[in-house]
Amino acid sequence: APPTPWSHDLAKPEVDESAFVHSFSNLIGDVRVGAGVLVAPGTSIRADEGSPFAIGSGTNIQDGVVVHGLEQGRVVGDDGNSYSVWIGRDACITHMALIHGPAYVGDKCFIGFRSTVFNARVGAGCIVMMHALIQDVEIPPGKYVPSGAVITTQQQADRLPDVRPGDEKFARHVVEVNEALRAGYRCASDEA
């Protein structure tokens, strides 16, 4: 990782050996990466201000994702500890998404292209579509956030619909593509 003026005294990331972190990415500070996680090219995960970050097993972080945290503000993770950013298991953080701590993203969440989660909790199993903003709210588990939605008051968050059968079609497609790419990365890194 490129050094920042303060990065010399940062903790090093802890990456499970079964995780795949592409070399064309930027992972610095106290980031705990679980088993089978994919960190794609072009991502920036910097626990240099807010920390630590946790990324649960089986989660994928796609190309162009930025994870960062404010120095102030923490969320409580599922293990009861405090984190700047907690991302649960089997979540899918898709291309260009921004997860800015303090932020909690629960197990099996899907965060669509270019959506932002900042100072918020997104409960387990939520589907967030594309270009949405989720800020200063707590979204209960299993909710659906449409493309382009701006959810910045708790009232809006409470009115969100539940995920319905069919909503996960897009999410499933993106996840499948990711599996294909993961296979590609494995091949590329074996060749290298």
Partner: protein, 127 residues
């Protein structure tokens, strides 16, 4: 309009993996990611420009960026689709499994091809 977050350029080079063909007259900016899943392709034509931190992720077909087409910084092209000749895709726009006609200009931050949105087809070219 909410302008989505702009790309952070963390690398000076670009990341190109899979079956990707880039014309030697095309320009790829720092931090761009061009990746084709197995069985899919990316083709970048003459005079095309790919902006900083743009992501092209081909799967289930071909992503073709035709002659003179421009993708602004942080543009995302996902799945398959042709960006026609001289089209101009504004910064931080998202193109999902859809084609963009030649010479069309798309404003920054727009989404095209989202199956859940009405009017999610790119504009037609100027007459």
């Amino acid at each position: 309009m909410l302008l989505p977050s702009l790309p952070t350029v963390i690398r000076r080079d670009a990341c190109i993996c899979g079956d990707v063909t880039v014309s030697d007259r095309a320009t790829i900016s720092p931090g761009a990611v061009l990746q084709a899943a197995p069985g899919s392709r990316i083709v970048i034509g003459d005079g095309a420009c790919i902006g900083a931190g743009a992501v092209l992720s081909a799967c289930g077909g071909t992503i073709a960026i035709e002659t003179g087409a421009m993708l602004g910084a942080g543009v995302l092209v996902f799945g398959w689709g042709t960006i026609g000749k001289y089209a101009c895709i504004g910064t931080a726009a998202t193109i999902y499994q859809t084609d963009v006609a030649a010479t069309v200009a798309i404003a920054a931050g727009q989404i095209f091809g989202d199956p859940t949105l009405p009017n999610s087809n790119p504009a037609q070219p100027p007459a």
